[in-house]
């Protein structure tokens, strides 16, 4: 049967099991929008293309499925760049379709032409310009496969107008063969055995897990691994949710704003078992002084992540879940050695408990509401079961430190790129994927204004996301650096008296608006807001000069923590 490019696109999306497109129309994609109309395909109209990509991203992170976007050529396409870069840094599977001018006009500076394949080459896992409708079905199949397999990432498919209009015989390919792309899933058994040899010798081992564990759905295998060996575990920002934070073997988050015990444990360890993490500079601090006396085992599906920043002793390339399962098999077989771990690392665990007791994450609640208190209250009110998206800055770090994450795919945050404006659209996408869950964007007064327009999207589709603004009247994280390293010269970070009235703003969009100014109101008003059936925004006036601690200054070693 002959189908047009637009029809092939919709048919292929159905074949891929796509439930929803996040998009925004325009001239170059009119025919596709017509097809969406005719086929009644579910489509969420965002208010800015950046919002579409972050929403698809939140959808993907919270569900494990591929997120899909559709935007027009030129400005529509360029507006996706920040979203793509965000997803690329955090390995989120997306397929983004962009309209393009007809192939004959490409290169002519045609109206609404942008070389989006050129522009996004370095912030996508792969991208395609479809030149012939005959290639379309194959390319879509490849795009979904590449986005979701190996180390996932965003793939962009650029669709010239004539390709959308042209017709060809349609058959969705069953098989896929990309000769330059063969991700490794199973870890090398020899390496796995060598890794265990090290684990069975270590006196001060610590496991350091990142987002890879969540992406590969390895939380259960990780739990088995940690509890069988009795080795402590710390998580990166992206790894939060991979292991229950309150478990006695959990050290909490490590890195720049990590816990005292986590950073001390890493620094003093003699063996680091890194799983699905990439030794980001926000995690390692000064590289030369990161775990200076430790051997390093590194499990990761992306070979380029291994020995990139830190020399690794035992690399294991593979899928975190598969490798953990292979490790567990060996561990069971080597029962006697496994039993000896407990005795050997007992002094180490005792040392860790001392660290833990010394500088717990804390804050002092005074007259003005402390932002940490708000996050804690949210944790209590939602029993730690909400999906939390964040913006970027102090709000993000307090959410990471004070909301207790126990399950994977419940914490959505822009870790790698640190994109302000990520949280609200990501929350919207997560709510689309999880209609029955409570989804909250913990926001800053600065960041929320970067994609505030998406409140209209939430209202239009009655997606009951809740935005809780920790309103400190500052670009707080930047202010904190100015306080610490620039003698309190608060250059362009104060937003006092120039912020919009967030309550009126929420109401103007048709959402519910709340404001909290007193400590005694925090709990009841949050409760009330959470009970709203539709979207709601809560403006919480918090202490202006609160800082995020502990803090390892950029470039310092992990042991050089500023504690208050």
């Amino acid at each position: 049967m002959k189908l047009t490019g637009a029809e092939i696109l919709i048919e292929s999306l159905k074949k891929e099991g796509v439930e929803v497109i996040f998009g925004y129309p325009g001239g170059a994609v009119l025919n596709i929008y017509d097809e969406i109309y005719k086929s009644d395909f579910r489509h969420i109209l965002v208010r800015h293309e950046q919002g579409a990509v972050h929403a698809a991203d939140g959808y993907a992170r919270s569900s494990g499925k591929v997120g899909v976007c559709l935007v027009t050529s030129g400005p529509g396409a360029t507006n996706t760049v920040t979203g793509l870069a965000t997803a690329y840094m955090d390995s989120v599977p997306l397929v983004v379709f962009t309209g393009q001018v007809p192939t004959l006009l490409i290169g002519n500076d045609a109206f609404q032409e942008a070389d989006i394949v050129g522009i996004t080459r370095s912030c996508t896992k792969h991208n395609y310009l479809v030149k012939d409708v005959k290639d379309l079905a194959r390319i879509i199949k490849e795009a979904f496969y590449i986005a979701a397999s190996g180390r996932p990432g965003p793939v962009l498919v650029d669709l010239p107008k004539n390709v959308i209009l042209d017709s060809t015989e349609y058959a969705y390919p069953e098989e896929i063969d990309i000769r330059g792309y063969h991700p490794t899933y199973t870890g090398h058994i020899y390496q796995i055995k060598r890794a265990l040899d090290l684990i069975y010798k270590a006196k001060r081992p610590v496991t350091y897990v990142g987002g890879g564990v969540i992406i590969s759905d390895a939380a259960e295998a990780l739990y088995q691994f940690i509890t069988t060996l009795g080795i402590p575990v710390t998580m990166t920002l992206m790894g939060l949710g991979a292991f229950p934070i309150r478990h006695p073997l959990s050290l909490g988050m490590l890195g720049m704003h990590g816990t005292f015990q986590a950073n001390m444990a890493i620094s003093e360890s003699d063996l680091v078992i890194a799983i699905g993490a990439r030794f980001d500079d926000r995690v390692t601090g000064k590289v030369d002084e990161f775990a200076p006396n430790a051997k390093i085992i590194h499990i990761d599906i992306d070979p380029t992540s291994i020995s990139k920043n830190i020399k690794v002793d035992i690399p294991i390339v593979g899928d975190c879940k598969k490798v953990l399962q292979s490790l567990l098999k060996e561990i069971v077989a080597r029962e006697e050695e496994t039993e000896k771990i407990e005795g050997r690392i007992k002094p180490w665990l005792e040392q860790i408990e001392k660290w833990r007791g010394k500088h717990a994450l804390a804050y002092e609640q005074e007259d003005v509401i402390k932002p940490q208190y708000v996050v804690e209250k949210l944790g209590e009110l939602t029993k730690g079961e909400a999906i939390i998206a964040t913006e970027v800055g102090q709000n993000q770090m307090w959410a990471a430190q004070f909301y207790e994450f126990n399950k994977p795919r419940t914490f959505l945050t822009s870790g790698g790129l640190g994109t302000m404006g990520y949280g609200l659209p990501a929350a919207i996408g997560a709510q689309v994927a999880n209609p029955d869950k409570t989804v909250i964007d913990i926001a800053g007064d600065g960041s929320i204004q970067m994609n505030i327009q998406e409140l209209a999207t939430a209202v239009q589709y009655n997606l009951p996301v809740k935005v809780v603004i920790l309103n400190n009247a500052y670009l707080g994280m930047v202010r904190q650096w100015q306080e610490l390293f620039f003698d309190r010269r608060y250059s362009y970070t104060c937003m006092e008296k120039i912020a919009p009235d967030f309550v009126k703003l929420a109401e103007a969009y048709g959402a519910a608006g709340f404001r909290i100014e007193k400590i005694k109101d925090v709990e009841p008003i949050l409760k009330e807001a959470l009970a709203v059936k539709g979207p709601a925004m809560v403006d919480v006036i918090v202490e202006k000069f609160e800082g995020v601690y502990p803090m390892v200054p950029a470039g310092a070693s992990l042991k050089q923590m500023l504690l208050v």
């Binding site: 000769r179 330059g180 380029t304 020995s307």
Partner: protein, 159 residues
């Protein structure tokens, strides 16, 4: 250390810029890059000469392999290989130096490919050492312009 990489890629538009973009985005340097179709018209072979310590070379190789359009990466420098480069040298030719230029060119098995009243253009091929020596000898006689292809290379024997 200098490394010569042989990179087999899909013969498609955009592949060259993906490879070049990778080098510039990650701060790796390219000393030379040659690319042309292979016997199989769907494939191209790139020869890239680059520099880096062990850790950088490991990253370059892995990052290249990570590109979807890259099929195979071989670091030739780890093994025995032959490499060749073609060079065109345009000499300022005068009555007095013409004979000397031709003599030097002969020693290096160069060929004259163009002559004018004021110039002599020589073509030569060879490995890096040979071409460097030839340029060295020709320099005092007045080189006007040089164009070189960059290196192509292949493993020796049946490897």
């Amino acid at each position: 250390m200098k490394h010569t990489l042989s990179v087999l890629v899909e013969n498609e538009f955009g592949v060259l810029s993906r490879v070049a973009g990778l080098f510039s985005a990650r701060g790796f340097n390219i000393e030379s890059l040659c690319v042309a179709e292979t016997l199989d018209p769907t494939l191209s072979l790139m020869t890239i000469v680059t520099r880096g310590d062990e850790m950088i070379m490991e990253q370059i190789t892995k990052q290249l392999n990570k590109l979807i359009n890259v099929i195979k990466v071989t670091d030739l420098s780890a093994r025995k290989f032959v490499d060749r480069e073609l060079i065109l040298i345009k000499m300022k030719a005068t009555k007095t130096n013409r004979a000397e230029i031709l003599r030097i060119s002969d020693i290096f098995r160069g060929k004259v490919v163009d002559v004018s009243h004021k110039t002599l253009t020589i073509e030569a091929t060879g490995d890096e050492g040979k071409l460097a020596a030839m340029i060295e000898l020709l320099k005092p006689l007045g080189i006007k312009e040089i164009a070189r292809t960059g290196k192509i290379a292949m493993l020796r024997g049946a490897q």
